[in-house]
Amino acid sequence: MGGDMNLAIIEKEGLHLFVAELLRRKNTVVGVKDQSAVSSIPGDSGFYTYAPINSPEELTLSFDVTLIPPKKYLLPAYEQLLTFNLSPGSIKADAPKEELIVFGVHPYDIIAINQMDKVFSTVPQDNHYLERRKRTTIIGVDPVKIAPRAFWSSMGADTVAGGFDLMLTDIGQCYVMEVGSKKGASLLKMAPKTREAAPAEVKERDKVRTEARKRCDANRLSFSYLELPSLLDGKEEHVIWEEKSHLCFSCGTCNLVCPTCYCFDVRDDVSIDLKKGSRYRTWDGCLLSDFAQVAGGGNFRGHRADRYRHRFYRKGQFIYRRFGDIACVGCGRCSAQCPSDIADPIAVFNRLKEGI
């Protein structure tokens, strides 16, 4: 194999050996695990989660969508930022030290990670995030199964140009593996049974992608996602916000499962002997009732409908106006996991477009 391959072919057996080799070299690899077996819900078709893997057999690449997006490895749900002595004051920053390979990330989730990269690298930079990002290898995979509520094909998130180190596409007998970075190129050298992709195989990859996109189109935004920022202009008083949020539990599930939601709270913990403490950040969600509440009880988004509306504006307009990205990638997690099924962006945006 050549060292400068940009599009390689790896046999399925070779991929198995590649994962085994990564593990043999003591890399921490997280991948998607099929958790159908652990579901206690009768008739549940199962779900997928990212978790550390110890053998190639534990890895699933033919998943539809994971319960929680891979953001949990870049912005952990609990992340220590500082440690300090309570008295006398001394304080230091905690730095992430572990290297991580996330094996199997769909393009829409990579787009979401690219958006977080932009947010946290905007000055003032968040070096905790950036350090963790630097230590994370992303191995992407194109979806072959489509989640029932997914609509990424209409959010411009069916493919992604960058942000991955390697990107795999299952073309039947083998995978096409695209190199996205230097780190990816050196990883590829570790992979056995690879060769340069033939033009026909590259065409086959296009076919696989087109086919997946068409299946995802069954559930779609009825207009170009780039129209979202202007569509939302002047819709602040639309009846839909009150109407739909009437069923909102303010549980924050939509925030929790969203790959582009990155809001967090910062809190302190104290050791049991009251000598040491730590400051950590933890996920927060704008749908939770106290999200915009200040000390003294004032709440700048105290109404449920305002919180509900805020999320859709943030996805479709606010982040775009600030960072240039539409902050919904169409993964369908919020739609699938909202207890009241009122979080589906397609349902809300299409209705606003219809003007009813």
């Binding site: 300090f84 304080i91 809001c263 106006r321």
Partner: protein, 275 residues
């Protein structure tokens, strides 16, 4: 980490604590590294009480060459209650200064109408004292101060001497007076009929509780002030101060980044900005 953590506060020592009212205390704080904060009037710092947490507090003193600066804190939440329990000599953490400041340069030569509602006097005090140290650089100065009751008024001695200055017009009111109160009673807008301004060269600088803005802005407009002659400072939950955590967001604006000081003209159409 290769690069410093933006969450790492500098250590600072509480030099002095002055009780202002039953709810507010003034803290004189000195950074342990001895360096001045380098703030401008209207900016805020993130104050840490280690083991309790961190919260945004506006700096109340005017910038100067000394390292000491002042914060005036109402006992309202976890961190501020913990701050009230500290004593001189205790060590806290300070990050910042953060946020936008009052346009002290642009306002040179202009008439200034300060509108301070309750705790709003705290950040405005930084600007008022800044102006008084450079009195000749600014035009006419009117200070309006409103508090709920006479006992709630902050900086009483300082304000009394302010009121005696011949180069400054001072008007105050309380919502509810007491037996000894001889002054104005009513909300802050009831002071507006008591003076005239030249709207072309006057800028109103308003800081107060959320409910104050709509009424005070209407009163300023009624005096002929254009929207871009009205400057406000807004309160939000500015948890990180870095434009990341999302709590202070109003529309596409992060108050900790584009604010807390805003020109009213720039945010008047922004949903959620002013209630």
């Amino acid at each position: 980490m290769g690069s410093p953590s933006p969450y790492l506060p500098g250590l600072a020592t509480i030099m002095k604590i002055e009780e202002q009212t039953a709810m507010e205390k003034l803290f004189v704080v000195r950074p342990n590294d001895g360096k001045p904060l380098g703030h401008k009037p209207g900016q805020f710092v993130e104050v840490s009480v280690f083991g309790v947490g961190e919260c945004p507090i506006s700096v109340s003193s005017a910038p100067n060459k000394k390292a000491d600066f002042e914060i005036c804190v109402r006992r309202a939440g976890n961190v501020t209650n913990a701050l009230h329990n500290l004593k001189a000599g205790d060590v806290i953490g300070i990050r910042g200064p953060y946020g936008t400041h009052f346009p002290v340069e642009d306002l040179k030569g202009k008439d200034l109408l300060f509108v301070a509602g309750g705790l709003g006097i705290v950040p405005l005090r930084s600007f008022i004292n800044y102006v008084l140290e450079r009195r000749k650089d600014y035009g006419r100065i009117i200070v309006l101060f409103g508090a709920r009751t006479p006992a709630d008024r902050l900086f009483k001695a300082e304000i009394a001497s302010l009121a005696r200055r011949p180069d400054l017009e001072y008007l105050e009111t309380v919502d509810v007076g007491d037996a000894s109160w001889k002054g104005n009673m009513g909300v802050i807008t009831t002071l507006f009929p008591k003076f005239t301004i030249d709207p072309k060269k006057t800028y109103a600088i308003m800081v107060g509780p959320p409910v104050m803005y709509r009424f005070a802005i209407a009163a300023a407009r009624a005096k002929g002030l254009a929207d871009d002659h009205i400057i406000v400072s807004l309160e939000r939950k500015m948890k990180c101060g870095l434009g990341k955590c999302g709590h202070c967001q109003m529309g596409p604006v992060y108050v900790c980044q584009e604010g807390p000081v805003f020109n009213f003209a720039a945010i008047k159409n922004l949903e959620e900005a002013l209630s």
